[in-house]
């Protein structure tokens, strides 16, 4: 075995190094030094993020383990995007991790978090279903522990049990689907499956069911309707930082992995089949997510349902089945990271300082905490897709990508999605309304947030403001995807 092939996995290795350093720091350093753990982790991860962003060599194409693992500029980029998100999450969680209740466990928090990220890396890079499943489970099991992190809070526990049970159930369903894929194609390699299932030119009924199961399995992590029901409860119960991590990073990674599977495994011959499934799922996801979000008063549940409907929009990038769609998906994830993390940043700051998470508590927030309100407003506008904030661009581009196909069906789909943006605008505006318009006798008192919270918010808000108007991010991604051979095998 050629061990030099490990060198192809630069990002994984880097992440592993960070993980080990944190692990050793946590295990071996004195109790006093433990207080610096959060900051050190942020710093280390920040360095790692910067390195992968700036070092050109991570962009190299590489394939290892007999084709089970592959990386390319596009893949490296989506990992970088995730890194940025994780970095913000880490920064935002500094105060929480240093709080009295978490001192005992903060090491585990960072270690688990880095492990899940590692799992996501594997999901994204996998070209073999075994590796994919390992990645998927590595990304999902530790999360259950993280959800349960506030072990003294009942909600946290309930969320964790719901999460773990549904997650395992969905894994079982997913693997059931996979077993049939395997049985019908004789391989677990993506490219071999693709060539095997299209060889006789007929659509196999069993395989269609298998695809449905695979979509269900991945859809669970993406929280596509009707596989989303765990989302709201888990988001509500989990500690806010875990929720934000779940809602953006996990979702972003899975979305990309989903795209890869759909394109590379089932794209060549079965794209007609799963596109119709996705049509239905997207419509359901966006609509039901929106309908649920309307009624929520708890901000975390609210954001959970908002993230459900956002997942539907992300799926438009999959259904596009072209380079623009893929670039738009990645860009959407990037923008979504910033927007959602800004929202969670404000949410977390308020929760940490006052313990309030209800939308009614936000009434009159602007009078007392104008900056937090502005950040929240930007986040809401960006999520709703209002220019000139980044969310507008990501939404526009994802629609542009989807419509490149040009069939009437996709126009109708996009129209439905667009009409749903009105509903989503409604509930995003509810938050804005609460903060700016509603009166409140006892608004949340003015408080000064922790530097980490502020830093996290500044980064997110900076991203919201600049990512759209400064076009280089999207241009860069689109050029990358256009030059990738991801869609080469498509009919």
């Amino acid at each position: 075995m050629d061990y030099s092939q490990f060198l192809g996995m630069k990002q994984e290795i880097g992440l592993l190094v960070v993980f080990l350093l944190v692990f050793f720091y946590d295990t071996f350093l004195s109790k006093k030094a433990q207080n610096g753990l959060a900051t050190v982790t942020c710093g280390l991860f920040g360095l790692f993020t910067a390195y992968t962003l700036l070092c050109p060599s991570v962009m190299a194409d590489a394939t290892t383990f007999g084709g089970m693992y592959a990386t390319s500029p596009v893949i490296a980029t989506i990992k970088n995007i995730l890194n940025i998100g994780v970095f913000i999450v880490l920064v935002q969680s500094v105060k929480w991790a240093n709080s009295e209740s978490q001192t005992m466990r903060r090491g585990e928090f960072y270690e688990l978090l880095l492990v899940t990220l590692f799992g996501m890396y594997l999901m994204i890079s996998a070209r073999h279903f075994l590796l994919f499943v390992i990645g998927l489970e590595a990304a999902s099991l530790p999360l259950a522990a993280m959800v349960a992190f506030d072990k003294n809070r009942y909600e946290s526990r309930e969320a964790a049990i719901k999460y773990i049970l549904t997650a395992v159930f969905s894994s079982a369903v997913f693997m059931m689907g996979l077993s049939f894929v395997y049985g019908l194609s004789g391989s677990l390699y993506f490219n071999e499956i693709a060539s095997a299932i299209s060889v006789n030119g007929e659509v196999n009924v069993l395989l269609v069911l298998a695809i449905a199961f695979v979509i269900a399995g991945v859809g669970f992590k993406l929280s596509l309707v009707p596989f989303h029901l765990w989302t709201a409860d888990v988001y509500q119960g989990a500690p806010t930082n875990v929720t934000s991590y779940l809602s953006v990073i996990s979702k972003g990674a899975t979305a990309f992995a989903f795209l890869v599977i759909m394109v590379q495994v089932f794209g060549a011959f079965y794209s007609q089949v799963w596109e119709w499934m996705l049509y239905a799922l997207i419509i359901l996801t966006i609509t039901i997510g929106n309908l649920f979000a309307i009624r929520q008063r708890n901000m975390k549940r609210f954001l959970a349902f908002s993230s459900v409907s956002q997942a539907g929009y992300i799926m438009l990038g999959v259904i596009a089945l072209n380079a623009t769609g893929m670039a738009s998906l990645m860009y959407y994830v990037l923008v979504y990271i910033f927007s959602n993390l800004a929202a969670f940043g404000v949410l977390g700051a308020i929760e940490n300082n006052t313990g309030k998470v209800s939308m009614d508590d936000y009434n009159g927030l602007y009078k007392t905490n104008p900056r937090l309100s502005l950040a929240m407003m930007l986040a809401m506008f960006s999520l709703a897709g209002i220019p000139p904030f980044a969310g507008f661009f990501s939404k526009f581009f994802i629609f542009t990508g989807a419509l490149e196909q040009g069939s009437i069906a996709i126009y109708m789909l996009v129209l439905i999605a667009l009409i749903n943006t009105i509903i989503s605008l409604y509930y995003y505006l509810l938050v804005v309304k609460a903060m700016f318009i509603n009166d409140n006798e006892t608004p949340i008192a003015t408080f000064k947030s922790h530097w980490s919270e502020r830093l996290g918010l500044w980064i997110s808000v900076g991203g919201i403001l600049l990512l759209g108007i400064v076009s280089c991010a999207y241009n860069y991604i689109l050029e990358l995807t256009q030059s990738s051979n991801m869609f080469a095998g498509l009919l």
């Binding site: 549904t166 009924v205 269609v208 449905a212 269900a216 709201a232 499934m277 649920f292």
Partner: protein, 643 residues
């Protein structure tokens, strides 16, 4: 002709309007009044000069001796298309020159008169500003070179009339009268506008000169197009005439005029007797050659005029408000002019009807203004509009009495007063068209004499009420008010001798007026009989009028209520337009259209509520939904594929 003077005629009143309107509140009353009057006086002089130069300067006659239509200036204002251009210009021809004289004369008189009449009124400056605005608009209207310019000034005239009627804006009746006047004439203008649109669509021009010189050619492009049973040209001309009906208060669009008497009396004299209300007549006269192309339209004009003349005359016999009597008399007299135009044909006495109409317009302006100003003086003295609170005033107000009498004689058509000559020509035209119109109009002329003298006797004779309970006994007005009366009375006496036929004819050829003795004598006799009847009934206080009224009670009551036109309109506007159209539409908008939009929101919320059970919090139901969802997606896709 030099542009300066015509331009000044228009510019002076406009400047006065702007100066008085913008800076009036900084001036004293006297200053504002004098300024306005002086401005108008200058315009008067300039207009006389212009008219004199036109008629007698000798430069505006072609080789055949016909007068020319002279465009002094014509600036492009707004170009719609290559040919359809609104120009602001100054068309000098016999009727516009005549109208210049009429308007400036009456306007100046009214300016002068108002100095006394409006003395001490609040908003004096505003009053003069509006008067100037009106004069400007009216002058612009008559010198219009194209139909759209006319429409522009037509609207402006309407607006200034609105402002002047509503001058006493705190009085609810004045406000509603002004609204009524504006909306009714606006409705008529809609017809005018549509008429213009149709006409210009086919003729591709707005220009009067182009249109009237060879109307047949210009309108050839209609190609006999028919719309709802009438040729489009008929439609266009009738609709344009509808505009005229509105302004000239022809039935059934006359209802605003009696109410318009809510304005200050001099305003009634100027606008609602002498000038603005004849705009409709002027319009038809302006377009006369085009109307000749489509005689059906002229028939309609005649009918409308004839019916109005009769109707208004009957109503005038029953009213007690002196201004209302005068208002209905105005309607009736204008109807005379309209009929005269309607019956005019080039082949009948070389189109005498046209000339007669214009002649009557001229003379009527003078004596009707006189009558109104006289009425103003009376109201000024008695502080009432109602002739039941007058009587025997001939002793108290001798000048007013004499001048008023002259006015009455003139309108009754007694030789040698102005009305005789013009009315005679109208009757000639009517008889020459058909016997029926002749008799009809003669009868109306008789009625005219009757109700005018009824009015005259009730004011100046009848009885001698006790005026001592007034804080002063009635007396003649100051000179600013009597001077115009005297001047106008003088004009009314002599205007008939103007050789009008030489000045104004439909084809601008000179035409020799000669009295048609049988007709003239008949009409004078009828008028004298009517006067005699009035003398019997009203010279002394007696119960005869009441007895007569009782005899024809139904007719009398109906006429007293103006044949219920106002009620009809009230019904249409309030019951139908407001309650059956507007309110339902507003309701529909709020409940149905807006309700639909709200319903979307409502449905969304309801749906949101309805599906909340999905999120039951039970992990087992979550996975059930999950599994069913996955199976459903797969199975439905399979079924779709198999199908």
């Amino acid at each position: 002709m030099d542009q300066t003077i015509p331009l000044l005629i228009l510019a002076l009143p406009l400047c006065m309007f702007l100066v008085l309107g913008l800076a009036g509140h900084k001036m004293s009353h006297k200053m504002a009044g004098i300024l306005g009057t002086l401005g108008m006086g200058t315009a008067l002089v300039l207009a006389y000069t212009t008219a004199f130069t036109y008629f007698f300067g000798g430069n505006f006659v072609d080789e055949a001796g016909n007068r020319l239509q002279h465009i002094v200036f014509n600036y492009d204002w707004l170009a719609f298309t290559e040919n359809l251009i609104i120009r602001l210009g100054f068309l000098l021809d016999p009727i516009s020159a005549m109208m210049l004289v009429v308007i400036t004369t009456i306007s100046f008189m009214v300016h002068l008169y108002s100095l006394g009449y409006m003395h001490g009124e609040k908003g004096f400056q505003r009053y003069y500003a509006f008067l100037s605005l009106f004069s400007f608009s009216m002058l612009g209207l008559v010198v219009a070179t194209n139909i759209f310019q006319m429409y522009i000034f037509w609207e402006l005239v309407g607006a200034s009339s609105f402002l002047l009627i509503g001058f006493y804006y705190t009085k609810p009746s004045a406000v509603s009268a002004s609204k009524k006047a504006f909306i009714v004439t606006r409705f008529a203008d809609l017809g005018f506008l549509i008429g213009i649109l149709i006409l210009s669509f086919y003729s591709n021009t707005f220009d009067f000169v182009t249109m009237t010189q060879a109307p047949g050619n210009v309108l050839a492009s209609t190609g006999g197009a028919v719309f709802m049973g009438g040729s489009v040209l008929t439609w266009a001309l009738v609709l344009i005439f509808m505009g005229g009906m509105g302004k000239s208060a022809m039935m059934p669009l006359h209802i605003w005029l009696p109410d318009a008497m809510e304005g200050p009396t001099p305003v009634s004299a100027l606008i609602h007797a002498a000038t603005m209300v004849v705009a409709g007549v002027f319009l038809v006269a302006r377009m006369f050659p085009v109307y000749l192309v489509e005689e059906v339209a002229l028939e309609i004009v005649t009918w409308v005029g004839a019916l109005t003349a009769l109707y208004a005359a009957i109503v005038a016999c029953t009213q007690v408000d002196i201004k209302r009597v005068l208002a209905f008399s105005t309607i009736s007299q204008i109807a005379f002019m309209v009929v005269s135009l309607g019956v005019a044909r080039p082949e009948l006495h070389e189109g005498v009807g046209y000339m007669a109409s214009m002649f009557h317009l001229f003379t009527h302006a003078m004596f009707k203004a006189l009558l109104f100003l006289g009425a103003g003086a009376l109201i000024h003295a008695v502080h009432s509009n109602d002739f039941t609170s007058m009587g025997g005033l001939r002793k108290h107000m001798p000048i007013t009495h004499i001048t008023f009498l002259i006015g009455c004689l003139a309108i009754a058509g007694i030789y040698p007063f102005a009305g005789f000559f013009s009315k005679d020509e109208i009757l000639v035209a009517a008889y020459s068209n058909s016997m029926m119109w002749g008799i009809w109009m003669t009868a109306v002329a008789g009625l005219t004499a009757f109700y005018m003298f009824r009015l005259y006797y009730r004011i100046f004779w009848w009885n001698n009420p006790d005026y001592s309970k007034h804080h002063h006994t009635p007396h003649d007005a100051p000179w600013t008010m009597t001077l115009p009366l005297i001047i106008l009375a003088a004009v009314s006496c002599v205007a008939g001798f103007i050789p009008f036929g030489e000045l104004v004819t439909w084809n601008r050829e000179a035409y020799e007026i000669h009295l048609n003795y049988p007709i003239a004598i008949t009409s004078v006799v009828v008028a004298l009989c009517a006067i005699g009847l009035a003398t019997i009934m009203y010279r002394k206080e007696n119960s005869l009028p009441d007895k007569v009224a009782d005899k024809v009670k139904g007719l009398w009551t109906a006429a007293y209520h103006r044949f219920y036109f106002d009620e009809l309109y009230l019904f249409i506007t309030h019951k139908i337009i407001f309650n059956l159209v507007s309110r339902p539409i507003a309701w529909f908008d709020r409940q149905i259209i807006d309700g639909t939009m709200d319903m979307f929101a409502e449905v969304t919320n309801k749906a949101s509520e309805a599906i909340k059970g999905l999120q039951s919090g039970r992990v087992q139901s979550y996975v059930l939904v999950y599994l069913l969802g996955a199976l459903l997606v797969g199975v439905v896709t399979v079924i779709c594929m198999v199908l």
